[in-house]
């Protein structure tokens, strides 16, 4: 029998496992179990929310154990150490990889989505080798973000086993856990780099015992979650005729041509498959294989692994292969001295079409906008470029599919390696000195080959797509880090003290090299040496360095009253000589109320902790040399028909520039109730960035110089987060869990001396969310020409006399009778307001089921130009325009088509139109999985300790009101959707084996 140590009640559904195997059972309704085991084997008893116990069987036939909830000592990784979860006073989100099931993510960071509150993660793309999600923790806190708002300036600091690096090429199966440091108290130990939060990744390590081999393999098939639907050749021609007659031009296509488009008959007129039928693969294969060995003795523990992934992309001509390895070795030399070496590395090799030097996103764009009037190939065998039959009445560009297939190839190779050596000395008990040295090396080698093509317009044959061009670039990044820490723990009676002091220095360097040649006549030989027309070279390097001192003190009294204080003193080469060092303090308090006598009667409450924290963090994302005035030598001119160097200053420097300070207050509650079955965490935070790093504009009469980075302005992110976990069982065989989380964030610019308008449509202004959409409010569609020209009622519209029935009504907000720039307003907020996730798991006998939903509620993006520009030239439109305004179809919100009429579209450069601001909220089934673990009796016969097979799906279901044919989970907020690589809907099948 297994019982609860505190109450003496039987524990239903507790796990009993024969150690080193997956052979086990669970207790029944009375807490009783039975199991066949060898005398020499060890039984491991565990129950969710309780500590575990091990018992050697020996000669016993009945083994009763009691498990204690108070023994629960879940330990989580925090900055420069670990902390018992129950003693934690900061806001740390954790995720153990065993809780993600077998989700077939190709980028390790993606698993955080929907599982950790406060993490705003947008997957964005499923492009092989280029599918790293954009991550923000608790909103955008800095102005120095691009108009897309999610670039590196607001990305969290990522440390893998304590080494600053990237999650991009880490094999998901190597990861033991994630810790997301969300508040200042938990992150302040990382000082000037922690303002955007910190993600700590811990990889798996060896444990004492006989070697254990794990094999995980899956194959998956990916398809686009959404495919744009564009006008067919016939509809295109029909609408183009309408667009022409709408502005008084003659029709472009004759009735007999329309018939040909509709019925076929002439091979010069396209009626083959649509671009997306040819350009998107359905069920693009993905395979991933992983091998690891863990084990060890008392003295040496090891873990090593290798992974391989081969992915074909949803878009043709895209693919990626990735190879990973990792080796973590820990050596206990003596009781006083430990050392270890971690080495990890990866190699990624990805391809995409060159597509006129633009890459694959341009292909997606062209599949939308390219006039669908010429076939892929003409009968003469050549790829089509223009159509002689339709000369003057179609696109003259190369057929998108032909250009993707034969226009050249871009290749990206990443080589990454991270060696990390540590030594630990414990001269007296509980005083540990640790030295840690690492180098993170990343080399990105890219090549861009644009091949010369021979194409045809159906009659003439000519060369196109350049001269045969090849370019190679290489970015070598090295980050070397040295750390020295000392930590000490001491207990006096019921008082427990812990302390940490440390020093770290870090140096970063990037070297860049590029070279190019032209005149390549053969697509097979594409090395630099092969041609020698118009050669060019380029190169560059930059550096930064950091030197810091830090410390931490923890105190708790009887586990009831908790306090922690952190401080970091950070020096950065990026700051001006007058401000090289900054201090980042934080403190936090916690009260484990459940331990108080007055709570003793509330036996259903197992844990209840209130915590509060305050602290300051820094942001040093200002570029490497913002404080130094320079003269650049890259201002050449031509004399005597040869290029000569020229020099000029390009930017103003600010020698006083310093870090941006983010001050976060966090109040949280952790509760565990009902025999540890239900746990609940809530946090409220207020995150204020002060001395925000930004570059207020300076007048051009200073010489059109880039303004210096200055510390100015204040931004607030305020919000709350909830997460809830419930573990339950029905009978002894059926166990289930439910968990959910909800995060809400409000962004607001509290103080800003002058507003910033980027790209003429993205405004950062005091009192509003950062990067708000700014533009004209569209109030409807004119129903008659008389109405359209009625300046008294509607104001003189921007299109003036060209405005007709079917055009957008721009709101004359100031009512002065003319619609102009003064009538613009804030019309959308690209910041994510709410994210949420829900997970359900169920286990019955060998079957296990898991389902995860994830969603965003409240995020605006701007619709793109392509496919929505009402036929400005010979560009295609999406099928949305089948519902365009016509006198016969007046009740619609899609404007008329009109050649070259530009006022119905939110253009790249023009102000945004409210009609183009889309709500990108969605709820999607991110993951679903059904697995079966074969009975031990069977697997043992095969020599395995565990054998599990599963089928899983990703993104199989999506609920959204977003525009048809496009995915709402797109990283770009500005001119969104129509040049993005699609998201993947994936079905996978896999097997997990261990022995």
């Amino acid at each position: 029998t297994v019982t609860n140590a505190e109450t003496g009640e039987p524990l239903i559904g507790a796990n009993i496992l024969i150690k080193g195997t997956s052979n086990g059972t669970i207790t029944d309704l009375n807490g009783i179990y039975s199991l066949n085991a060898e005398k020499s084997s060890t039984l491991v008893f565990s129950f969710i929310g309780f500590g575990s116990k091990e018992e050697i069987v020996g000669n016993r036939s009945i083994i009763d154990v009691n498990l204690s909830g108070s023994e629960l000592d879940e330990v989580i990784v925090v900055g420069y150490g670990t902390q018992k979860k129950k003693n934690l006073t900061g806001a740390v989100g954790t995720l153990n990889t065993e809780d993600i099931g077998s989700q077939s993510v190709t980028s390790a960071a993606s698993v955080l989505q929907g599982r950790v509150s406060g993490v705003q993660l947008i997957q964005g793309s499923a492009q092989p080798g280029n599918d790293n999600p954009t991550i923000q923790i608790r909103g955008v806190g800095t102005v120095r973000s691009s108009i897309d708002g999610q670039n590196n300036d607001s990305a969290p600091l990522v440390l893998v086993d304590g080494v600053q690096s990237t999650l991009n090429d880490v094999h998901p199966n190597d990861i033991e856990s994630f810790s997301v440091l969300k508040d200042a108290s938990s992150a302040a130990i990382y000082g000037a780099r922690a303002a955007n939060g910190v993600i700590l990744v811990t990889t798996k390590r060896g444990k004492s015992g006989k070697p254990k081999v794990s094999l995980n393999s899956y194959i998956a098939f990916q398809s686009a979650t959404a495919t744009p639907s564009v006008l067919s050749p016939y509809n295109f021609a029909l609408l183009k005729n309408e667009a022409q007659t709408n502005i008084g031009n003659t029709e472009s296509y004759t009735q007999s041509e329309l018939d040909l488009f509709k019925n076929g008959g002439n091979p010069l007129y396209n009626n083959g498959p649509s671009f997306f039928d040819e350009g998107y693969r359905k069920g693009a294969p993905l395979q991933n294989h992983y091998f690891s060995v863990t084990g060890g003795t008392e003295y040496v523990k090891y873990m090593f692994s290798a992974g391989f992934q081969d992915q074909e992309g949803i878009v043709i001509e895209t693919d990626s292969k990735r190879y990973n390895f990792r080796s973590n070795v820990d050596v206990k030399v003596s009781e006083k001295f430990r050392t270890g070496l971690n080495i990890s590395g990866s190699f990624t090799n990805s391809n995409e079409p060159n597509y006129s030097n633009f890459g694959v996103t341009q292909l997606v764009r062209d599949m939308i906008r390219h006039a669908p009037l010429n076939p892929y190939r003409y009968e003469n065998g050549y790829i089509s470029m223009g159509n002689v039959e339709l000369s003057g009445r179609t696109s003259t560009a190369i057929h998108p599919i032909g250009l993707a297939k034969y226009g050249g190839n871009d290749n990206t190779k990443y080589y990454r390696a991270t060696p990390n050596l540590y030594m630990e000395l414990e001269p007296i008990k509980d005083l540990i000195f640790k030295a840690n040295g690492s180098v993170y090396v990343e080399d990105r080698k890219q090549s861009f080959f644009r091949s010369k093509m021979t194409v045809s317009d159906g009659k003439n044959v000519f060369t196109a797509n350049g001269l045969g061009e090849y370019r190679e670039t290489d970015f070598l990044n090295t980050t070397s880090t040295f750390e020295l820490t000392a930590r000490y723990n001491k207990t006096f009676g019921k008082s427990n003290f812990g302390g940490l002091a440390g020093y770290t220095s870090q140096a970063y360097r990037q070297d860049f090299l590029s070279a190019a040649n032209e005149g390549y006549n053969n697509d097979l030989l594409t090395e630099l040496d092969v041609a020698s027309l118009n050669p060019s070279v380029g190169g560059n390097a930059s550096e930064w360095a950091l030197q810091s001192y830090f410390g931490r003190v923890n105190y708790d009294y009887d586990g009831k009253y908790l306090a922690e204080f952190n401080i970091r003193y950070d020096g950065s080469s990026r700051f001006g000589e007058n401000n090289q060092y900054g201090t980042f303090p934080s403190f936090s308090l916690g009260w484990n109320m459940a331990k108080e006598a007055f709570m003793a009667n509330l036996t259903k409450v197992n844990e209840m902790k209130i915590r509060a924290s305050w602290g300051q963090l820094g942001n040093q994302n200002i570029g490497n040399y913002s404080s130094i005035a320079t003269v650049n030598l890259d201002q050449p001119y031509v004399f005597g028909n040869s290029l000569v160097a020229g020099a000029a200053s390009r930017a103003l420097a600010n020698p006083n520039v310093k870090w941006e300070t983010t001050e976060t207050t966090d109040i949280g509650l952790d509760m565990t109730i009902f025999d540890y079955k239900l746990s609940f965490t809530a946090d409220y935070y207020n995150r204020k960035s002060k001395n925000v790093l930004l570059s207020p504009p300076v007048v051009a009469t200073l010489g059109n110089l880039s303004p210096p980075v200055q510390n100015q302005g204040e931004i607030q992110n305020q919000g709350y987060e909830f997460s809830l976990n419930y573990y339950g069982n029905i009978g002894s065989e059926f166990r289930y869990s439910l968990s959910g989380n909800w995060s809400h964030n409000d962004n607001k610019v509290l103080k800003l001396d002058s507003e910033f308008l980027s790209a003429n449509k993205v405004l950062t202004k005091e009192g509003y969310p950062i990067n708000s959409f700014y533009g004209h409010v569209i109030t409807g569609i004119f129903q008659s020409d008389i109405e359209a020209q009625d300046a008294e009622s509607f104001g003189l519209q921007p299109g003036a006399t060209l405005v007709s029935a079917g055009d957008y009504i721009y709101e004359d907000r100031d009512g002065n009778g003319i619609v102009n720039a003064d009538d613009r307003a804030i019309i959308g907020d690209p910041n994510i307001r709410n994210t949420y996730g829900m997970t359900l798991t169920a286990d019955y006998k060998g079957f296990n089921f898991r389902m995860m939903f994830q969603g965003v509620l409240g995020r605006d993006v701007e619709n793109g130009v392509f496919g929505t520009d009402g036929m400005r030239g010979y560009s295609n439109l999406t099928n949305l325009y089948l519902d365009r305004w016509t006198p016969e179809n007046p009740d619609t919100d899609v404007p008329r088509v009109a050649t070259n009429y530009k006022y119905n579209t939110s253009l790249f450069v023009g102000p945004a139109l409210s009609s183009a601001i889309l709500n990108a909220s969605y709820l999607r089934m991110k993951h679903i999985e059904l697995g079966y673990t074969f009975p031990v009796e069977l697997t043992e016969r095969l020599g395995f300790s565990n054998l599990r097979v599963y089928v899983a799906g990703q993104n199989l279901l999506t609920f959204t009101k977003f525009v048809d044919g496009f995915d709402p989970e797109d990283a770009s907020t500005f001119n969104n959707v129509n040049d993005s690589y699609p998201q993947a809907k994936t079905v996978s099948m896999g097997v997990n084996i261990s022995f």
Partner: protein, 463 residues
């Protein structure tokens, strides 16, 4: 311990620069660099004919369309800011040279030539600036951010400064350069610009005398057979007619130093669509037999670079080919220079100034007929009135100097009647309508700058 003192690895610290003659040369070259920018001669000066009545700019994203239509743009728009910024970039770079080079120990002749080049270039930048915006801040020395909130100075003050700079430059600059310095400003360049400045400001006597100073330097018109090649690499920097060219170098491996005239023309499939296209009204202006028509415009049915012209690539059905190299492999990395000043302009300046001052004298007839005869046209009929001659000179200037950065600026200086008439004359482009307003005679001071510097107020009238 980590070394936190990290300095840029590809730029020189400002305090270390301006110490040698090499630095002086680098500095002046950096001023020329501004000329080759898209917002100056690489695109704007040529494209500006589409704001005038020679062409149509089809893409809304580069804003010329809005300016040409006379609406849809205002002080907050991109172009008023682009050109303002680029001009001051050139001016401040020239100021840096003028401030720092005198203290460098170096060959005195080279030093004074470099200073004279800086004076010339500063004058050129201020000239365009004041033509577009009228009163602008006169910045002649280095400023700090604290000193930067300047006010505007009267156009007359700017013009005086331009003329002073040019007089000084003309007194020092050489008549010509050896091969390695070909492309630097010459005495002829300074004088030609000066004659243009005088003409623009109705100082006709000075315009005439300065034009005559240029003529005295021995320039001449190239023969008819060379007319087309004058705008192509074949005859670039020729010592006969060419006076000042912004230099471009194709296929150098460095971006932005080649010209973009091919890629904007739409003449062949590999160039893509035309950014700006000659319009029917320009075609109609050519007299029969004028060879300039086929040097400037590619028409349906004609071939270019051996390929039949497909008019779909241009919304007007015509493609601009002046300065376009007949080679399908060259797109935005061309070798063709931008001819900023040539002898034909000097004759036109002379003719116009003489006609304004003394009426249609023989000097006027001779100058205009010299230009007409070269392009296969007969002499103008004798006995024209001053007004008739004025109209004839304007037309000759429009056709002779089309797409050379003159037409739009000429229309602005001719005044409201001419600008209005020219805008209203453009009716051939479907869906394109130009609406005149008096405010269009000057560009607005960029709102972006006014937001930072209230001293730039008041705004130009009507904006």
């Amino acid at each position: 311990c980590a070394d936190l003192d990290r300095y840029p690895l590809n730029a020189i610290g400002e305090p270390q620069f301006w110490s040698s003659s090499d630095d002086a040369v680098l500095g002046i070259n950096g001023v020329y660099n501004v000329l080759a920018h898209n917002h100056m001669y690489r695109d704007f000066m040529r494209h500006s004919d589409a704001i005038g009545d020679n062409a149509y700019s089809q893409y809304s994203f580069n804003y010329y369309l809005e300016i040409s239509e006379g609406r849809g743009y205002d002080a907050s728009s991109v172009w008023p800011l682009n050109f303002w910024k680029k001009s001051y970039e050139g001016i401040v770079r020239a100021n840096e040279v003028l401030e720092n080079v005198p203290d460098i120990t170096m060959d005195e002749a080279t030093k004074s030539r470099i200073l004279a080049e800086a004076h010339f270039l500063r004058a050129l930048f201020y000239f365009h600036l004041t033509n577009l915006y009228g009163d602008v801040p006169l910045v002649l020395t280095k400023q700090t951010i604290g000193e930067s909130l300047v006010a505007r100075d009267p156009k007359a003050t700017i013009v005086t400064q331009i003329l002073n700079d040019l007089t000084l430059a003309a007194s020092i600059l050489p008549d010509s350069y050896g091969p390695s310095n070909l492309g630097r400003a010459t005495k002829g360049a300074a004088l030609t610009l000066k004659s243009r400045v005088h003409l623009y400001n109705k100082q006709y006597a000075e315009a005439i005398s300065t034009a005559n100073e240029v003529i005295a330097l021995g320039y001449d018109l190239l023969p008819q057979s060379s007319y087309k090649d004058m705008f192509l690499p074949t005859l670039e920097n020729n010592a006969v007619e060419s006076i000042f060219e912004v230099q471009f170098l194709g296929k150098s491996g460095t971006s932005g130093v080649g010209s973009s005239f091919n890629s904007n023309s739409g003449a062949t499939p590999s160039f893509g669509g035309a950014s700006y296209s000659p319009i029917q009204e320009l075609i109609d202006a050519y007299e029969p037999g004028d060879i300039r028509r086929n040097v400037t415009v590619l028409e349906p049915g004609q071939t270019f670079a051996g390929l039949a012209f497909d008019p779909v690539r241009s919304p007007t059905g015509y493609a601009l080919i002046k300065g376009v190299i007949p080679d399908v492999t060259i797109t935005d990395d061309g070798d063709a220079n931008f001819v900023v000043m040539r002898y034909a302009e000097v004759l036109l300046n002379l003719a116009e100034a003489e006609n304004e001052l003394n009426g249609p004298t023989t000097i006027v007839y001779n100058a205009i007929n010299e230009i007409r005869n070269r392009v296969n046209l007969l002499d103008l009929p004798g006995g024209m009135s001053q007004e008739e001659m004025r109209i004839a000179i304007k037309k000759e200037r429009r056709l002779e100097l089309a797409f050379e950065g003159h037409r739009y600026f000429d229309l602005l200086r001719y005044g409201s009647a001419d600008l209005k008439a020219s805008m209203e004359s453009v009716t051939s482009v479907q869906g394109h309508e130009r609406i005149y307003n008096d405010r269009l005679l000057q560009w607005p001071v960029p709102q972006n700058e006014i937001n930072i510097d209230q001293n730039l107020l008041p705004q130009n009238s009507g904006w």
